[in-house]
Symmetry: C4
Subunit: 213 residues, 4 copies
Amino acid sequence: MSEGGAGGGALLSPHRLEAFSDGVMAVIITVMALSLQMPSSATWAAAEHRLPEVLTFALSFTFIAIYWNNHHHLLRATRTISGGVMWANMLLLFWLALIPVLTAWIARAPGQSVPAAFYGVDAAAAATSYAILVRVIIRANSSSSEIARAIGSDFKGTVSVVAYLVAVGLALLSPFLAYATYSGVAIMWMVPDRRLYSPLSAPPRASPDRPLP
Amino acid sequence: MSEGGAGGGALLSPHRLEAFSDGVMAVIITVMALSLQMPSSATWAAAEHRLPEVLTFALSFTFIAIYWNNHHHLLRATRTISGGVMWANMLLLFWLALIPVLTAWIARAPGQSVPAAFYGVDAAAAATSYAILVRVIIRANSSSSEIARAIGSDFKGTVSVVAYLVAVGLALLSPFLAYATYSGVAIMWMVPDRRLYSPLSAPPRASPDRPLP
Amino acid sequence: MSEGGAGGGALLSPHRLEAFSDGVMAVIITVMALSLQMPSSATWAAAEHRLPEVLTFALSFTFIAIYWNNHHHLLRATRTISGGVMWANMLLLFWLALIPVLTAWIARAPGQSVPAAFYGVDAAAAATSYAILVRVIIRANSSSSEIARAIGSDFKGTVSVVAYLVAVGLALLSPFLAYATYSGVAIMWMVPDRRLYSPLSAPPRASPDRPLP
Amino acid sequence: MSEGGAGGGALLSPHRLEAFSDGVMAVIITVMALSLQMPSSATWAAAEHRLPEVLTFALSFTFIAIYWNNHHHLLRATRTISGGVMWANMLLLFWLALIPVLTAWIARAPGQSVPAAFYGVDAAAAATSYAILVRVIIRANSSSSEIARAIGSDFKGTVSVVAYLVAVGLALLSPFLAYATYSGVAIMWMVPDRRLYSPLSAPPRASPDRPLP
């Protein structure tokens, strides 16, 4: 609150934006679990039939978790937000909010191309919104050079958008190629966090795509 | 917390009111996305049939996003809240909480007048509650002249109430006239945030993108 | 956080308890609105048939809003919480979490005694849990006499429990007598906030049942 | 925020992790109550038929409440979080998010072995994730010896994992043996908080009611 005031009336502190985004992402993750159908009977076979649904849920859970993690790091490096930041953030939340219904659609028809392709379209839209959010935040915090340095090149963000668009095309050949691509993007965001970056973390920087150094 | 105490037992700090309102609005936005029905089959045609639902969702998402943004700015300028503020805020949340069910109703019958009209009634009630909230907050913070200056004339708030009531009438002619009006009000709240106010932001006032006037 | 540490390892600050309770109450209020069925067709008559549901929702919304308000005031006066406070709070949230399903049950059968009676049983259990919470908090904060003074006699809390139990009996005669009693208790909590207490608010105290002075 | 910065870019403060976890757990508890079916008619007999569902809900509510409580204490003792902490926490939330659908499955078929066994599998996975979270947090906070002392031996955590796995086996004999075991674990976590630890709380340690050992 005080930070927002310090920067003049035009600039807001990111605290409440974080809290709101956390709320939305927490609800998305949880209600997505509710979209899982109960097994149709109390047998192992019925439970086994739900395996594709559980895997789809796990993929989307990881997808949202990565966004939460990146968003957390991005806003940590942010000092002030503008109206543009607010709307870019809302656009990101819009695409994320569609994930549960798309997840449910895939879970009912995991072998079909169209749901798998739509999932990729939404994922690409979310990744693009995130890239816009990064740029709008850099502009709003232009007085401090820290933010641009902290955010860095957003290379993985660009790779993600391209990969999702490729996956949309692959889905038309086979939905499983698309799922493999979505999983690959998720692994790209998770793996370096524990392996590649840690030994290199000598200079104390922060980075949105390096959630845990 | 400390601010509330400073003003005597009668005055509360707005922090927890914000957090609660954020929670309600985050849940509204997210569960509304769940009211979207999955396409009935895994085809492009079935997905296309859901387009009116997605557009309705986008309208209501924007509607809630604007309230969150305005609420954010309003409470930023607020130092203390009274019981009246608490209840005015609850009244606003009451009308906002009805948005998802009304959105779902429109999505099932986008060409019908009655759901479109009810949406306008609820929107007008929410806008009126917001106007009440603004006035109650000004009264509770009367000792500081800052709040009234920051909030200003609430011109756009008055325009919104009138426009929503007009839209209720228009809905009886054609629901699409009502939807156009709702979209117009949303655009009115979004556009100035980025275009009109920024160049004028020389003196440190409430905010160049200050959503609530 | 720091307060908790200052009081020794055994005592926790109430901040996260508040945040969690806010989250639960925000979700209750919002999902309750989702339990409202859409009108069965796009006509005024169909909308009119939903009026009992909307009124039931309004009653339960007010019920939760009063608990949020009282809870807010109670925890404002609280410095430290114990494990007992945590569990008493969870017990309160348990009964509140049952309100949406009971509200939906009433909404489907507003003229029946049994749902109206069960609502009263749950309301009495919630009010009793709140009274327990008040006492456990006083015990956990015994070192400061401020809390007991701030909380006062909890007279309205006792009245509420008795009224709810009476309403359970009345429901067996007529559910509408029970609804009238529930509404009466809600009004008891709301009215004094704006009328009776304000002129008397000379000494700066806080009180859980005097949410707005 | 400032704490995270102090430790270098690699270390984050636990505040937002707490807020997000609180949100997820609050939604889980509340939506689980929604999975309760209304009684099929407005009679005492119909309500009585829902008793197994309400008991199942109470068990799962307590289950989540214990995790919230333990999580609260764990993060209170935490100064910095790493990416590993973030992902361990997400893994825990993943298993907790599956509780509502498993609860609903049990509620529909309380006398069947398979749902009772799956509940135990998920409970064991959640308890194992929690144990991983404890260890990852200790590693991330290794510079301060306080955390390891505060967390202690995690004896009850190990007992819980073993008990849940035993319950999976017992479920195949009788689901009620499994339910008894789940309830026993819950009681183990609740009771000491108020009885055993309090008299010993002379030295200011983590907490007399410290849920996570």
